[in-house]
Homo-oligomer: 483 residues x 2
Amino acid sequence: MNAMDPLPLYRQLASHYLNAIDNGTLAVGARMPSVRTLMARHSVSLSTALQACRELEQQGVLEARPRSGYFVRARTRALAPAVEPVLHVADPAQYVGIHERVSAITARSLQADVQTNLGGACGAPELYPNEALSRTAQRVLRQKPMLFGENAPHNGEPSFRLTLAQRALTHGMQLTTDDIIVAHGCVEALNLALRAVAQPGDIIAVESPTFFGLLQILETLGMRALEIPTSPQTGMSLEALQRAAETYPELKAVVVVPNFQNPLGSIMPDATKQALVAWCEQRDIALIEDDTYSALTNDDVPLRALKAWDKTGNVIHCASLHKVVSPGMRLGWIAPGKWLARCQMLKYAQTRPNEALNQLVLADYMATPAYDRHLRRLRQHLRTQRLQVADAVAAYFPEETRLSVPSGGLGLWVELPDQISSREVFERGLDQGIRIAPGMMFSNSTRFDHFIRLSVGLPYTPEVERAIRALARIVDRMGRVAA
Amino acid sequence: MNAMDPLPLYRQLASHYLNAIDNGTLAVGARMPSVRTLMARHSVSLSTALQACRELEQQGVLEARPRSGYFVRARTRALAPAVEPVLHVADPAQYVGIHERVSAITARSLQADVQTNLGGACGAPELYPNEALSRTAQRVLRQKPMLFGENAPHNGEPSFRLTLAQRALTHGMQLTTDDIIVAHGCVEALNLALRAVAQPGDIIAVESPTFFGLLQILETLGMRALEIPTSPQTGMSLEALQRAAETYPELKAVVVVPNFQNPLGSIMPDATKQALVAWCEQRDIALIEDDTYSALTNDDVPLRALKAWDKTGNVIHCASLHKVVSPGMRLGWIAPGKWLARCQMLKYAQTRPNEALNQLVLADYMATPAYDRHLRRLRQHLRTQRLQVADAVAAYFPEETRLSVPSGGLGLWVELPDQISSREVFERGLDQGIRIAPGMMFSNSTRFDHFIRLSVGLPYTPEVERAIRALARIVDRMGRVAA
Ligand SMILES: Cc1ncc(COP(=O)(O)O)c(C=O)c1O
Ligand SMILES: Cc1ncc(COP(=O)(O)O)c(C=O)c1O
């Protein structure tokens, strides 16, 4: 244990054993060293040793057996086989109007009386530092009495952009205030990026499956999505991308979510990231990265952005604070590289600069240690909830169900037996007040129609448990009818 | 005078005589009835009569002459001839990339060290109810402790949309909460409207001259602007529109600012509004109205929106609160008529719903009498400032200068002697720390190159006076060199 580490001792201890469990040194069912052993081995107090074990228990990693101590729990990863990657390259000619499907599903969800929303990609409100943000906002309002009377600065508040640039260093990016434009969430950033580099009719390579919002953006911009097979572990297949580019040499841009891809949760290895940056640069294909989730990782080791390897400005970095700091703020940003001037112009023409208040609030809050404490707490909660939802799926869903448990992000991608229609699961779920995201939203093709995405953003209450059981019953019944 | 009128007596009295002056019953130079006469004639107190005269003096309508009483001032309207309408129909083939001009000018203005900004289209910060808004915001934050943790509602806060619908009644519109989508200013509303009704390559009729932001939006969307001659008094010429539609039968939409057009300040007469609505409906051409300024009228008689005559949903109403309540908030809205579902989808795909906080603040504030008091105060200030700027232009600019003084809005459209390049006036002004909006920004053609738009949003300080004198000298010198 390291006294210089900012983490409390018990968390260092917990993290040490978590690694041992994750890498198999301590296998499922193994007995955790006793509290006494821990005290002796690591020179820690009884309370530290106990706190570490309780921490791991709370995260669903250990279970306490009366009078025997702590044991490594049967983990989902051991139970449910990994999601099967789909390796077929789509033909853009097969393109269908995804927005009608997405819009139909959104409209349907809004009409319905949803009690348990497992369809979102956001944390529950209580996971965010609402009180601190509210206090900061009240202070900013007192300090700037003319705030509501003044136009917001072009391209975003300089103090906020400076904070963002400083934080970006952690992910390997060298940015200045002037490289950044503040936008209304990553969604606006993606709109700007695509409009900067491509025209209606152009072909854009995307992951398959991918975030439905991206497909909807492409559709509304009149651009064509070329879906590239993507692994639940390592993200977009570079090989498949290369093959696709041979077939479609007019390819204009590639959009990827390199860290905790939505819906897969995959992380692209650093070597692949670097290769992808080089490949796009060589071919003069714009590379747009969507960095919505990388802060939501299990461990505190920061993931690198594609932009970290960008030397020519060919990578457009789009990011969001909406799921990380405040779902109530629509704050995101874009570092457009060589398309800076064009993106500034497009932002001005599309919505004008973002309002100042929330930017000032985050500039202030994100520069404090409270922000790092919030991040650690959020990550821990998400890790726990992720394991809990995964366990429940493994326990209740039919045996053929497959599942990968990512090490970060807000969702679980679940492959159902392949005769099951996720659209029908969605409809029947809604009838019972349960909302999920059906797989057909994540592709223009039909090949993810038997997948669903479940949110891990909610605290694992009995209500969530009941909802997952109810979904399992729905799938089970549909499977039987089909068989 | 009417005791039931919510206006204080002295304002009723002032308004009564203002009408008399405006319609010529009391001509320039005429003596205002004495305070004693006013007391007797209207059965008011001495202080009321005095207050009324001072009010009119402050508005620049009367001048006090020592020991003689009040006299009707020589008014700008009498001095400077009205702006000459330009009646030539543009050929869309002449279309040039306006965005590069606008962007170059914006960039240039941002680099420059601007001391006096007469180039904006917003009121000075102190004209807005900043304190009341800030207090309301702090209260909302205390009342809603989870606000920053929760996603904002789709399409906008219902309470805010209800307030907007209620206020819209004043302008003759029958709307419900569900008819309205909240957007990031009128600029986002216009983007949504145009994307809903037209495709890249389509032809859109606009006023000539028109708000440069609209030309920039069209350019970024790849649509073609067809400029229709527009009168400084009565707005877009329906006759010219009809002729243009014969030449370009593929016309997709018409965009107009019926009330206080930017930059002209024109108001379309109700009969023309009604005829335009009917004409577009018959031809199945979408009618987009931009209602950014109608609240900024001199008198408290509300102007009607085009939407008031819409029976089939063919009118898309776009509006803004940015210049009316709070330049620090980017709040606008759209009532998309029959394109409601499509605009909801586009809004979701472009930026997701607007943040809740500012919407809740305005929902609260706009439902109080304080809002109406703010509006009356703002209108009065703008009226005074408008006359002051107009007087200064009439006094200092070369004699051939023409000027129309509109009865509302935030700008004055000034026609310089026709050999003067407004771009050069702009550059030389910037050199002296003075920013204006050069006429070439308001058209894709060159025919407004000798016009400038001056803001009337600033209190008429000695600094503003100096700036206008400096501009006059610049124009004067340029005129002499050219002659
Ligand atoms: C990959 C990805 N990008 C972007 C977004 C939206 O980001 P924001 O809310 O910042 O607009 C999401 C939300 O689901 C997402 O999953
Ligand atoms: C006619 C017109 N429409 C729209 C706008 C911009 O509106 P908002 O600030 O609400 O986006 C302006 C501002 O100059 C304008 O003059």
